[in-house]
């Protein structure tokens, strides 16, 4: 640690006035013969390593590095669809990345390990430091060294003022400059810059507070995802959420009871140039109420401009198409009638895939695997989508009948069909445009493609630790600045009677060398002021640092 250690009792030894490093006593303890290390010794050694500044810095660095994949790779918490896409795009790499929790970095065990170790390291460092700091803040400045000329900065001069008087006025001057002053019979010691240690401490405590705030968010916050088709609503309750990741202390009743309707969604794309097909704007027109029965409000949700309801932030994180279908079964009943969200599998043409499941069709369950093409083009006999906007939408389906496997508790994805219990039906593969139907063979029924709607996916986050984290983040910086800008410095004044009845006054000063410069100037002006308090009868007895003041050789009479 870079802390200052002020020896409890300075004694006559001049070294006492040097700023000792806190590592001093640790080194001594560590120098014990290795053979004598018992379990307790190893524990103490481990604790010292953990709470050392170096370890804390390494952990802080690891924390920063560890969060990098969180922004480079799609994350389960914020964008599960993108994770699914990643799996399709990189089928070999994705499982390896998942093994290291790289799709859920902030929930990963290794991330928690870094976090907790850093926390422990900081606590272990801050607690003893606080005690030491309080101790040192209460302590008077140390004794003045015997030979002030040996200090980095010193000056000496003669005066005919009596020593006691010279010392008393020097003490008054230093005290007036907000130095902490200790005055004894033949010396005065003064110290300033305690704020440096306070800043240092503030930095550490605020860093701790940042971690606590993040932890607070982890306990009481939650994250959720919801896919919402245009024209439909949802309520912020557990059953309505697609993914719900509650903090450890969140219960379903804690969710803020807002409801939200997606009135309209529009996506704009660049229509020409090299950026053709790139999205230029996403606008989701919402109506929401913050509690049941409350007034309805409108909000235009765009990317990176979340809706904030009751402290909960709702982000627009994705969009897609939901073709609408009606399925009439073999018995003549409508067994399905609604939009089916399809998941985009590529972005340049927004080709999307999805599944229609009709588990209650009679006489057999029906399933359809579909591809939606927003702008359908024929590329050498193969259909593809040339543009993400719905300029010429069509949907192509593969039809199945049999057992969808939905009547047991084994859950399955709504976006894919489990074809294990299904057999494919002989239907000519023909892309459907709105209003077209396919007749299933064997009197199994009819499917009609009615058109499409759009959907958006929302990330819902509640993090009560966010504001405390911001405040403590600012405090971290404040503490750091304070500890960089304030210098801990000491000034000593000694006065003794010379052989000729005059008084010899020595002024010495020292400051930490690593701090920003400026003490030299401060010292020389201080020394000049101290000297100005008395009248020098003769040139300096022993030259210290050269002084640049020559105008005060005439003895001021008014003293």
């Amino acid at each position: 640690m870079t802390g200052l250690r002020i020896p409890p009792e300075a004694g006559p030894d001049e070294r006492a006035t040097e700023f000792a490093d806190a590592a001093g006593p640790q080194v001594q303890a560590g120098a014990r013969p290795a053979g004598r290390f018992g379990a307790a010794g190893w524990l103490r050694w481990g604790w010292r390593q953990l709470t050392s500044m170096r370890t804390a810095l390494i952990l802080l660095f690891l924390l920063a590095v560890g969060s990098v994949p969180g922004s480079l790779l799609p994350q389960e918490g914020s964008n599960p669809e993108a994770v699914a896409q990643y799996y399709t795009a990189h089928p070999r790499l994705a499982p390896i990345l998942a093994r290291f929790s790289l799709f859920d970095v902030f929930g990963a065990p290794w991330f928690a390990a870094i976090y907790l170790l850093l926390f422990l390291s900081l606590v272990g460092c801050v607690l003893p430091r606080t005690v030491r700091m309080v101790g040192s803040a209460r302590q008077p400045p140390p004794r003045a060294p015997r030979h002030l000329a040996r200090l980095p900065l010193s000056v000496s001069y003669r005066t005919d003022q009596p020593p006691e008087q010279a010392l008393a006025s020097a003490a008054r001057l230093l005290s007036g400059k907000r130095f902490r002053v200790r005055a004894e019979a033949d010396w005065v010691a003064a110290e300033k810059g305690y704020l440096r240690e306070a800043g240092n401490l503030l930095f550490h405590i605020a860093l701790l507070a940042v971690l606590v705030s993040i932890g607070l968010g982890g306990l009481y916050g939650y994250k959720a995802n919801r896919l919402l088709v245009a024209g439909t609503s949802f309520s912020n309750t557990v059953t309505a959420l697609d993914v719900f990741r509650p903090g450890r202390l969140v219960t379903p009743g804690d969710l803020q009871p807002f409801s939200l309707t997606l009135d309209r969604f529009s996506a704009s794309y660049v229509t020409s140039g090299t950026l053709m097909g790139q999205p230029s704007a996403f606008n989701a027109a919402l109506t929401y109420t913050s509690a049941p029965g409350g007034p309805s409000r409108r909000y235009l949700l765009t990317v990176n401009h979340p809706l904030v309801v009751d402290g909960v932030r709702v982000f627009l994180i994705g969009h897609g198409y939901a073709p609408e279908f009606r399925v009439t079964d073999g018995a003549g009943h409508v067994a399905f009638d609604g939009p089916v969200p399809f998941i985009p599998v590529e972005t340049s043409g927004f080709t999307s895939e999805g599944a229609i499941k009709v588990p209650d069709a009679s006489p057999q369950q029906l399933g359809f695997a579909g591809v939606f093409l927003p702008t359908t083009v024929d590329v050498g006999g193969r259909l593809a989508s040339a543009f993400p906007a719905p300029l010429k939408p069509s949907v192509s389906l593969v039809s199945y009948a049999g057992n969808l496997g939905m009547n047991s508790a084994t859950p399955q994805s709504v976006y894919t069909l489990d074809t294990a219990g299904l057999h494919q039906l002989a239907v000519a593969p023909r892309p459907l445009t709105a209003g077209q139907s396919i007749q299933l063979p064997g009197r199994l029924g009819t499917l009609t493609y009615l058109g499409y709607r759009q959907w958006i996916s929302l990330a819902i986050t509640y993090d009560p630790g966010q504001f405390p984290a911001l405040v403590s983040g600012i405090a971290v910086l404040g503490g750091l600045l304070l500890s960089f800008m304030v210098r801990r410095r000491r000034v000593f004044v000694r006065a003794r009677a010379g052989a000729a009845g005059e008084t010899i006054i020595e002024v010495g000063g020292l400051s930490r060398s690593d701090a920003a410069g400026g003490f030299e100037d401060e010292f020389s002006s201080l020394a000049t002021e101290i000297r100005g308090l008395s009248s020098p009868p003769a040139p300096p007895a022993s030259p210290g640092r050269p002084e640049e003041h020559r105008g005060d050789h005439e003895p001021p009479e008014g003293e």
Binding site: V238, P246, V358, M406, P411, V414
Partner: protein
């Protein structure tokens, strides 16, 4: 499936841990299960479903529930005061709901005329699919149409449905006596109803 079994299993372990701390974790998965592989892991791993029974005197008052049934009839929960009400939150797309449906249909027939009313709350569903579901499982009792989970939200201040399916047993005086999160079994639910309403 989006993900290989290995990672799903690992997600499952984490989710199971969360589920121990909080049943809600498992619940979110109820809805989740249909949406993402992540949910697959979180909802149905342990196989033990949370049943909460409230002692007489400690039963929270059920909220005011109003709505329209799938067939278009107005429904008012308080109109059923004086009967035990079994309120089942379900969706035709939800596998565990399909698993428990035969038991619920049979129990409704078993208790018919015994002062026990069964009411479904069909969430996140289209009417056509819901009606087809009721044909498949020969469900005779009505269901409220709740595509936006508004009724589930009404319960958030008392005993929120913490997943799909959730079954609430409401006593004669309109207080919530028990909650089952997850698949309800015939015997389990029958015992609950009987304990609320001694024959």
């Amino acid at each position: 499936m989006f993900r290989p079994p290995g990672s799903a299993r690992r997600a499952a372990v984490g989710a199971a841990l969360a589920a121990v701390v909080l049943s809600a974790a498992a619940c979110g998965g109820g809805a989740t299960a249909q949406q993402t592989a992540e949910g697959n892991g979180s909802s149905f791993v342990s196989g033990t479903y949370a049943t909460t029974v409230f002692r007489q005197g400690a039963r929270p008052v059920a909220p005011q529930v109003t709505g329209t049934t799938l067939t278009g009839t107005r429904f008012l929960l308080s109109a059923d005061r004086g009967a035990v009400v079994v309120l089942n939150f379900w969706g035709s797309w939800c596998s565990p709901c399909r698993e428990e449906a035969p038991a619920l249909g049979a129990l409704a027939r078993h208790f018919s005329g015994a002062g026990v009313r069964f009411v479904g709350v069909d969430i996140r569903d289209d009417t056509a699919s819901a009606e087809a579901f009721m044909r498949t499982f020969r469900i005779g009792y009505p269901s409220l149409n709740d595509p936006s989970d508004a009724i589930a939200l009404d319960f958030s201040g008392t005993v929120p449905p913490a997943g799909i399916p959730t079954t609430l047993v409401i006593d004669r005086s309109g207080r919530i006596a028990a909650r089952i999160v997850g698949t309800a079994s015939y015997d389990g639910l029958e015992a609950l109803i009987t304990s609320v309403e001694p024959a």
